[in-house]
């Protein structure tokens, strides 16, 4: 099995161990109680311990490596495509812009920027194409959500 996947499995296990430890630490700040009268801390701690154990098993048994081999063979599902910096950043930035503009400027600017910014992340999309798409989605979105479904989101906030 390739070294790359083995390292991935170590990271996968480590992440689960970390989350588990976090859950135990945070959970132990609540009352633990006894088995007969469980406090709010009981479940988080038990789940955290289980997660630590499973995390260690993931790293030790390397089971995911066998799985990676056969999903690799599957059409279009290698699961190991490198992170696309342009596309990924654009998607995250698009949602962030929706959050910020949605809070300060209203639905129309938020929608437009969200669609426009995320669309330019695609390598085959032209600036004009992204603008057109953003315009269409903004108009349709405002009509459907604001007018037809009456979602409480002002089109513009001044």
């Amino acid at each position: 099995m390739s070294r790359h996947i083995r390292i991935r499995e170590y990271y996968a296990g480590a992440l689960m161990v970390l989350i588990g430890i976090g859950a135990v630490l945070e959970g132990s700040s609540y009352k633990f109680g006894s088995a007969a009268q469980m406090g709010p801390g009981f479940f988080p701690v038990v789940l955290g311990i289980l997660l630590v154990v499973v995390g260690i098993l993931i790293a030790v048994t390397q089971q995911g490596a066998a799985e990676a081999r056969y999903t690799h063979a599957k059409a279009g599902h290698s699961g190991d495509e490198p992170f696309d910096l342009k596309g990924g950043t654009a998607i995250i930035a698009g949602v962030v812009s929706f959050i910020i503009l949605g809070d300060f400027a209203g639905l129309v600017p938020a929608t437009f920027s969200c669609v426009f910014i995320s669309a330019i992340g695609d390598r085959t999309t032209s600036l004009k194409g992204a603008l057109t798409l953003a315009m269409i989605v903004t108009v349709l979105g405002s009509v459907v959500f604001s007018v037809m479904l009456n979602v409480q989101f002002p089109l513009f906030r001044w």
Binding site: L47, G48, V95, T125, G141, V151
Partner: protein, 514 residues
């Protein structure tokens, strides 16, 4: 018993045939069909996007529509597999094996026609299975105490996560993570806020929409953007009259269709084995039974009929544990249960008697929906085929907007959108590390109920954990869980050593086909 079932079914039809419900059912299957056809759109994402819209709908309508999306997408997924060789929906991956060669030979229309017939046959059987099996299951389950329900949930959680996809250990870790996420918020017994880290909005818990859309929406987009291969639409010219199979083709497909249906129906009864496994098993069986197994993979009509029939009968059967026990078998079912919980309906064995309109209306709507799908797909096939060519660059920015507004409308505030983004980025990290996040939703939905029942069981037994092993039904369920998990781990290890498991064989032939 048959008479009372028929009576209930008639009542169900009277609910499902109400004009408003009919419209919602139609909307659901139409959207589902559409989503199934669009390459790069998952059914999970579609259901989660539409979930917030159902908050203001009556429960029956909401459930009919959301379920319609699920089984409707199965019809669309087959089109995608046969004409494009794209297994965008896992259960239909096997259909590619023979469906695409048929399309290349110019027989794509026939393959689609057979698919429609098999799907309908499979679905009908699955519905009948549910009509008779679900009430029986409810009768048994009504006698269950907290201990039995707990064991059942363990069964659902563990088996659902280990059999789903990928390594069993990773599946279990995802379930645990989901359970932890479900704990966030105010503890119902003591009123203490858990895992809120001082954030006021988290006291109400995490919205299911935020989890689902983060994990299955944003995370998927982050993974797929600029990584989707251009689609080859050269074999997608289908004419309406091509779809009618000849008499000999029908004869060829009849028995595989029947066997596929039975296999699917059986798989639906084994907890955790959903449509994907059913379709793989039925394809392998059919290949083994065939007198001419060498034709498989080169356009055998049986190779399309059997997996499609089994997928659909299993899809309908999936609803049995969800609706009668309140224990979902996979992430889609978990989402549907989540929708019910939001509507203020407690899932569980009591649901059938407390909300008969919901239960029987849903079953009746399955039939109506499947007939609609048959009728829809024949004339609309031309339109679906055109939709196959919708590029991803248009799809994902639009879907991203739907995610944002959908999450916003669930509480009319912007905070859940921030949460969704965070969950999405975390979900992408999980995907990169080789996790399949679907079981998270299973744990997330069942978590609060599981903790509640577990606490109750422990109070009743005065803290004695052995109560789960002493009660016979509970012990039997736990035994079954142990056997299924043990087998999974055994199979995973064997698979690792000896290359050549059935699944692997099938997967390899998939690559050869490309």
């Amino acid at each position: 018993m048959i008479l009372s079932a028929l009576n209930d079914l008639l009542y169900g039809f009277s609910v499902a045939l109400q004009p408003a419900n009919l419209v919602w059912c139609f909307t659901g299957v139409l959207i589902g069909n559409l989503v199934g056809v669009l390459p790069g759109m998952g059914v999970m994402a579609a259901i989660s996007i539409l979930l917030p819209l159902t908050f203001s709908m009556p429960p029956v309508a909401a459930l009919l529509m959301l379920s319609g999306i699920y089984y409707g997408s199965q019809y669309g997924g087959a089109i995608c597999s046969i004409l494009l060789n794209l297994p965008c929906h896992p259960p239909h991956a096997v259909t590619c094996l023979d469906g695409y060669p048929l399309a290349k030979q110019g027989k794509g229309g026939v393959a689609l026609g057979i698919t429609m017939l098999s799907s309908f046959a499979g679905a009908s059987f699955g519905i009948i299975e549910m009509i008779f099996f679900a009430p029986a299951l409810v009768t048994v389950a009504l006698h269950f105490g907290a201990a039995e329900i707990c064991s059942l949930m363990v069964l659902g959680l563990l088996v659902g996560s280990t059999l789903a996809k990928g390594s069993p250990l990773k599946g279990i870790s995802m379930t645990l993570l989901g359970l932890l996420l479900g704990l966030v918020g105010t503890d119902i017994n003591t009123g203490i806020g858990r895992f809120t880290f001082g954030i006021h909005e988290l006291l109400d818990g995490i919205e299911i929409v935020a989890v689902a859309l983060g994990m299955f929406g944003i995370a998927e987009f982050l993974k797929s953007v600029n990584n989707v291969r251009p689609i080859d639409t050269s074999h997608t010219h289908i004419k309406l009259r091509d779809m009618c199979p000849s008499r000999s083709e029908l004869k060829q497909a009849a028995m595989p269709m029947f066997r596929g249906t039975i296999i699917g129906a059986l798989c639906a009864l084994i907890p955790g084995t959903g449509p994907t496994i059913a379709s793989f098993v039925s394809y392998a069986t059919e290949k083994k039974l065939s007198k001419t197994p060498e034709r498989f993979g080169h356009g055998a009509i049986e190779g399309v009929a059997c997996p499609e029939a089994s997928t659909h009968s299993s899809v309908q059967g999936d609803f049995i544990p969800t609706m009668s026990l309140g224990i979902p078998g996979d992430a889609v079912m978990a989402l549907l249960l989540g929708a019910l919980i939001i509507q203020g309906i407690t899932p569980g064995p009591a649901l059938m008697s407390a909300h008969p309109d919901l239960f029987w209306g849903l079953i009746a709507s399955f039939w109506i929906g499947n007939i609609m799908l048959m009728v829809l797909n024949v004339p609309l096939i031309g339109i679906w085929v055109k939709l196959l060519a919708v590029p991803y660059r248009i799809l994902y920015p639009s879907a991203l907007f739907f995610i944002c507004i959908g999450v916003y409308s669930s509480t009319n505030s912007i905070t859940p959108v921030i949460l969704t983004l965070a969950i999405g980025i975390f979900g992408y990290l999980l995907l990169r590390l080789g996790f399949h996040p679907a079981p998270i939703l299973l744990g997330f939905v069942l978590g609060p109920r599981f903790e509640d029942e577990f606490r109750r069981a422990m109070i009743l037994s005065r803290g004695d954990v052995m109560v789960f092993a002493e009660k016979p039904i509970s012990a039997a369920i736990l035994c079954l869980t142990a056997i299924l998990i043990g087998y999974q781990i055994y199979a995973a290890f064997r698979n690792r050593q000896a290359v050549g498991g059935k699944m692997e064989e099938l997967d390899n032939s998939l690559t050869v086909e490309e």
